[in-house]
């Protein structure tokens, strides 16, 4: 198990390094060298400071070295090119919690409703409930979340006035965006859960449990749920990070001051240092979430636990 974790951590660090490096060079590859162009507009004194700190006037390799130095020693991802003096890390610290809350709410809705719907449809396979749930699920997967967000906003807010249209504040502000964000994951979890459940229901050990004289409810809670929910955990990692990193479109539509909408603004402002910093942050978050979930899963599922001690990793 330890060997497995070390191996996974190793790959994660390597992936992070590659992504960071790629991001760094990609941004500098943008035609017309926008960083230089943008820094030219800055007042002399500030430009001087920029150059000193980030070495924009030096050759690429120098810049690259300086970038890592700043990142590793000071945790500094640079400053915004658009808003003077605004640090990328500060911006992330300011906006990420909003996205985080929204994301967690959406995931909670998605996971809970998805699992319930998935189980319901698996247990009623081939019946009306099953078709209904699968119908919802396929809609949830097929309809882009900006469509859902727009529809929710138009009907529940503008037409009915139940919720605020845009902005951020009390809980009622979070309802529509959370719903819009969650529908897709509800659908995903419902489908996945249904497949898992059906798979587990077809396992021989379910027959054993029935042969023991176990009733349906008991069977579902003790054997089916346990074994079919476990794999769901693996979906959680990427989901958490993606939501945290910002549901770009949904945040934009509801004008929520989160990382996602800020990222979109940075893109339209061509604020390259900001884009770079956020990209690295989101990538790191994503990779770490996947790593943590994978390791957790290894601890929870006894089958994986053994496979690893026997073979020393996948």
């Amino acid at each position: 198990m330890l060997k497995y974790i070390l191996k996974r951590v190793g790959y994660t660090l390597l992936a992070l390094f590659i992504i960071t490096t790629a991001t760094f060079f990609l941004v500098r590859l943008i035609p017309g060298n926008p960083i230089e162009a943008m820094t030219e507009k800055l007042p002399d004194s500030i430009r001087q400071q920029f150059f000193e700190q980030y070495g924009f006037d030096k050759p690429l390799t120098e810049q690259y070295k300086l970038f890592w130095e700043n990142l590793l020693t000071k945790g500094d991802l640079g400053e915004s090119l658009k808003y003077r003096g605004r640090k990328v890390t500060d911006t992330i610290a300011q906006y990420a919690p909003v996205s985080g809350r929204l994301g967690l709410q959406a995931i909670a809705i998605g996971v809970v409703s998805g699992i319930i719907l998935g189980i319901l449809s698996a247990l009623n396979r081939g019946k009306l409930v099953d078709y209904l749930v699968m119908f919802i699920a396929i809609f949830g997967i097929s309809i882009p979340n900006f469509v859902i967000a727009s529809l929710l906003q138009y009907f529940l807010s503008i037409k009915l006035g139940w919720f605020p249209t845009t902005g951020w504040g009390t809980f009622s502000y979070t309802v529509l965006p959370s719903l819009a964000l969650s529908l897709n994951s509800t659908a995903k979890y419902a489908r996945y859960m249904r497949a898992n459940c059906l798979d587990v229901l077809n396992q021989d050990y379910i027959i054993t449990a029935k042969a023991k004289g176990m009733g349906k409810t008991h069977l579902i809670f003790k054997h089916v749920l346990r074994n079919s929910i476990l794999p769901i955990i693996t979906l959680l990692g990427p989901q958490i990070a993606l939501m945290f990193g910002g549901a770009f479109v949904v945040e934009k539509i509801f004008s929520i001051p989160g990382l996602g909408s800020y990222f979109v603004s940075s893109v339209s402002d061509r604020d390259y240092t900001m884009i770079m910093g956020q990209t690295i942050f989101m990538a790191a978050l994503y990779i770490f979430a996947v790593l943590v979930v994978d390791i957790l899963y290894g601890f929870i599922d006894p089958r994986i636990r053994l496979a690893d001690t026997k073979e020393g990793g996948n």
């Binding site: 790959y11 900006f146 727009s150 884009i275």
Partner: protein, 316 residues
Amino acid sequence: MNQPSYQVKSPLDFELKTEDFAFAGAREKQNQILRPSVSYWQDAWRRLKKNKAAILAIIVLAVVVIMCIIGPSLTPYSHEDVVMSDKNSPPSAVHYFGTDKLGRDIFTRIWVGGRVSLTLGIVGALIDITVGLLYGGISSYFGGNIDNIMMRIVEILASIPYLVLVVLVSLVVGKGMGSLLIAMTLTGWCHMARLVRGQILQIKDQEYILAARALGTSPWKIIWKHLIPNTLGVMIVSVTFDIPSFIFGEAFLSFIGLGVQAPMTSWGALAAGAQQEMNFYPYQMFFPALLISLTMLSFQMLGDGLRDALDPKLRQ
């Protein structure tokens, strides 16, 4: 022999004659009733036909494709015509789907945009599967260290959050269809490569391949007769599921301003433009959203249907 004497447990209701007990010749024996054998593709098609949702999806997709081809010529307008006097007009007999804030005919723009979105989806998925096939094929063919290294590369590439990377690459390569394709396929092929490799490895180890090899079947024949028929189903299904992700990706990029440039348009660009007018002219949002959703839904249902129809395990 000391055969014990048996008696019928419940008496028979008919008489038996001695000739009834004459031994039957070999020819008189019952022939085994065999079910007619059906080829894999015939069987798959038969099962797909039974799936009403999939058939409906095929019809919807066919209609959408046909409309994308002929739709723009059904109106006297071009997708670029700006008529400021006729802006934001609701759907009518003159403008079937209404006009946008520049007075452009939405009906025309929808089908022109559909060309872009569908082309992106289909070409993108084809690029993904081609690269994936080559990469996964090479990786599983050589095996050993090469396979190991190639798969590690895929693992790292796939661990980069997709949308973030797409945005970054779009910023570098610029706008337009080619750039969008590059951005979206740059790591999009990774899951295809994994899938191909997994399939090939799984089949390579199967007994019937071993048997074929032991019988001296040439590698090409094995690939043609065994590998391809057994992986093709999975590939077709994954391509079907891949197309909507491109359509969605394009819509997403349009939303954050990195999609195709005006006056050219796409479903994503139309939806993004309409979103800003949503509060006042919701009909502008309705048609692009409907077409995106309908197309994605159809591909989903078709993919589900194909998966069920092509799964050899389900065959009995």
